[in-house]
Amino acid sequence: MKVIKVLLCLTLVFLLGGCWNRKELNDLAICVGIGIDKVKTGYSVSVQVVDPAEVVANKGKPGRAPVTLFTMSGATVFEALRKMTTISPRKIYMSHTRMLILGEELAREGIAPVLDFVSRDHEFRTDFYIAVARGTTAHNILKVITPLEQIPANELFASLETSSKAWAPTAAITLDQLIADLTNKGKQAVLTGIKLTGSPEEGDQRENVEQIDSNVLLQYTTLAAFRGDKLIGWLNEKDSKAYNYITGNVKSTAGSLPCKGGGRLTMEIMKSNSKVKAILKNGKPEIMVDIHLENDIGEVQCKIDLTKMETIEEIQKEAEKGMVATGMRAVTYAKQHEVDIFGFGDVIHRQYPKVWKQLEKNWNKEFAKLPVHIKAEVKIRRLGTINNAFKEK
């Protein structure tokens, strides 16, 4: 009898829970990409939602688009998202967001208010990438139908990941990294830019992907530098690359040098390492950057004899010189804009906390005056599968 009573109570526990918070898969609007733009009344939020049946269906007949874009504006991001239920049949489910695109206008005005919601909401995982729509709105970026990947946000995610691994000028930045940079006084944030090639009107037509050479594509550009939470300018491609060299984010890339006798020689960077150190000179901090590269020869269009050690050493020297020059250019750019995107302040903070205490308040100005020395060491390891270029005879 007692057993029955206990069992009854337990059953009630199951039933009274009422399956709270239960969401069946077909009640979810799975959001893969969010775009946030600034509008007069507040924010305009665009959400790219997957239509699962369309993504999976491998039948030939074209039905609906694989994703749908819901756009809604509101005074705050959260409000806009909730208001979205008036146009979406299902509740937007945020956990699978792959990309967060911020409009350039919004980025120039400040991204901190927007990020608060994204990091506060429990549904967001922090493994999505963040990018800035360059010269256009986030809405326009998210409405492009992309080739190869059915879900445009996945395309953006994969493309950013690949390009940051194989082509250095982009940076795959996740939410926690961005927030860490924003709250860190000794480092300013950067974000990769994304732009449209072609007109935004054409991008959301299915014809865009029905032709071999799509008219509208999404392309990652270089890095945007932030001061605080405000975008203040775009680095060019070389500077972006140099940024990644100095911060040690280069996994692999390609870089070319002019040869003596004309033509260019391209090297594949296989391994890149950087060490940033601060030293004190007369009580003033200076920054030493040590960049170590291991390169392979990737493409030779000039008349040189690669079989000789001297040639290799010469190339190494040239490459080192080039590396230092690019690095210095990027540092100069940052100094001009008074944004310490490299995190030199952070290095000083770690090594000389007392010195940092004095510099901290006025760091942006101090950074502009900070002496920075870059040293590079390039080692050429392999020549590829042939020795000399075969046009040489």
Binding site: F14, L15, G17, C19, N21, R22, K23, E24, L25, N26, L28, I30, V32, V50, P52, A53, V55, V56, A57, Y93, S95, H96, R98, E123, R125, I151, N154
Partner: protein, 502 residues
């Protein structure tokens, strides 16, 4: 009238009366011609004795041998020992003092000799009846290993064990249980290896049994297990003599029940139900992998549907995006919540499984065709269940068939359902709570005093050689310490094979 009286006709009449003149009882009256003619009767159950022996040897020796022997008997009582000592050319002769004993002996195939003037009878063991014969075991099949299986006959079963263990240490204790059936039960163990406490416990528990009848060892199992309420088997059974013999060698006790090929062995541990006889006949590395596979299957069979329910209704963020989209696409248009979907499929599967066992073999084929078509295809195409759910239920079903001991799949089958409900109400949190409860329950179980989860809890490092892993034969030089603590040495500790030294 429980005592055998001095007058033969009264005794014979009483036997006839008691058995209601059943016509399978044969009563042959004859006259023994020693010094002076003595009347006697032979009683036996037709079909249970070797009739050639009865006619050719027993009656022959009684009628003729008594004539030629000119032995002076001093007193009439000496006739019984005389017959035993000098006349009857058969092996197994026992004394019977009263009618209950007489009936039990006669009805279990003994030939009874009653002699006029004697208040005693002789029971001669000449049992022979039609039985199934030793065939290949069907419930526990192996690829490599002996093909013999136990039969329904207790004698044959003991013989099968003796043929494997030719040691004077293998002791057999028999007793009869069942008020009406008087079923013979044998307790077999190896003296010196078995823990005395365990054998004493077995005796006590068997003696406690007071039932009308026993049809199968499962009935004993239910009456002697440690915990009354548990879905887990705490007594293992086998129809393979090699398995039972190996268990005896590890210090376990076997309980053989007449009339069933399933022999019980105690104490049993949780891990034992994941061990197959073949594990010890195959290479150790392979057996280890297969055992790991069984443990993985155990968790799949127990948890796969509940995890699927929990993840797809509560924790969608745990899935990779691509998988989530593909699952969501499959669920598009499915009208039921995941729990109902899972219950539908699980119940449908259980029906199929049960029907498949009960059906006459010829219809079984039809069942499997209907099952595959109905569950596999039609349900998905009609949009009642999603394809992913069919996959989950199928892998669950297949996994629950992997256990070498079928009785371990039973708790898994039962517990799957409460876990599914927990998952549907509380998500993964519910599953964790359920599994914790399960672990607590398992750790509270005992089998004849030995903790059921032994080798894991209490943890024994030495016994890991034969739990999830199966160490090479030369490494297993000690008996499992959770079963027996006497005579631990199983083999020489340096049996590791080496190449020749020169």
């Amino acid at each position: 009238m429980a005592q055998i009286g001095p007058r033969l006709d009264e005794n014979v009449h009483f036997v006839k009366e008691s058995l209601g003149y059943s016509n399978d009882i044969v009563i042959r009256e004859l006259v023994l011609d020693s010094r002076e003619p003595v009347r006697a009767a032979i009683l036996y159950t037709d079909g249970m004795v070797d009739s050639h022996m009865v006619q050719g040897v027993l009656i022959n020796s009684l009628l003729y041998k008594t004539r030629f022997k000119e032995i002076e008997l001093e007193r009439e009582e000496d006739l019984v020992p005389f017959l035993k000592d000098a006349v009857l050319t058969v092996g197994d002769i026992g004394d019977v003092n009263n009618f209950p004993e007489l009936f039990t002996a006669m009805l279990s195939g003994c030939v009874i000799i009653l002699i006029d003037g004697y208040e005693k009878a002789m029971a001669i063991g000449l049992q022979e009846w039609k039985d199934r014969g030793v065939t290949e075991p069907t419930a526990q099949t192996v690829i490599r290993g002996p093909r013999e299986g136990f039969t329904e006959s207790l004698r044959t079963n003991i013989t099968l064990l003796r043929r494997r263990i030719a040691s004077e240490k293998m002791w057999v204790e028999t007793r009869r249980i069942g008020e009406v059936t008087k079923t013979e039960i044998a307790v077999v163990y190896i003296k010196g290896l078995v823990e005395e406490g365990v054998i004493e416990e077995v005796r006590n528990r068997l003696d406690r049994i007071d039932v009308d009848g026993l049809m199968e060892s499962g009935m004993i199992e239910e009456l002697i297990q440690d915990a009354a309420y548990t879905p887990f088997p705490t007594i293992s059974n086998s129809e393979r003599p090699d398995v039972v013999a190996a268990n005896l060698l590890e210090g376990r006790v076997a309980i053989i029940v007449d009339g069933t090929p399933f022999v019980l062995t105690v104490p049993s541990l949780f891990v034992e139900f994941f061990h197959s006889a073949e594990d010890y006949y195959q290479r150790a590395d392979f057996s280890t992998l297969i055992r790991m596979l069984r443990f993985v299957s155990f968790f799949i069979a127990l948890l796969a549907p509940s995890l699927y329910i929990a993840i797809t209704t509560f924790h969608q963020e745990m899935l990779p995006t691509q998988l989530l989209i593909s699952l969501a696409a499959q669920r598009e248009g499915v009208p039921f919540p995941a729990l109902v979907e899972a219950l539908l499929m699980e119940i449908a599967f259980e029906i199929l499984r049960e029907a498949g066992i009960r059906m006459p073999r010829a219809v079984g084929q039809a069942i499997s065709v209907v099952g595959t078509l109905v569950i596999g295809q039609a349900a998905v195409e009609a949009g009642i269940v999603s394809a992913a759910m069919v996959i989950v239920v199928s892998i669950t079903a297949i996994s629950s068939f992997i256990f070498p001991a079928i009785n371990m799949s039973i708790p898994v089958r039962i517990l799957r359902f409460p876990l599914m409900i927990l998952a549907a109400s509380f998500g993964i949190y519910g599953i964790i709570v359920g599994v914790l409860g399960l672990v607590l329950h398992l750790c509270s179980l005992r089998s004849f005093g030995v903790p059921y989860m032994s080798t894991f809890a209490p943890f024994s490092f030495k016994e890991q050689r034969d739990a999830i892993l199966r160490a090479p034969r030369w490494m297993m030089d000690k008996r499992p310490e959770s079963i027996t603590k006497r005579n631990m040495r199983r083999q020489s500790p340096n049996l590791k094979p080496k190449p020749p030294e020169h």
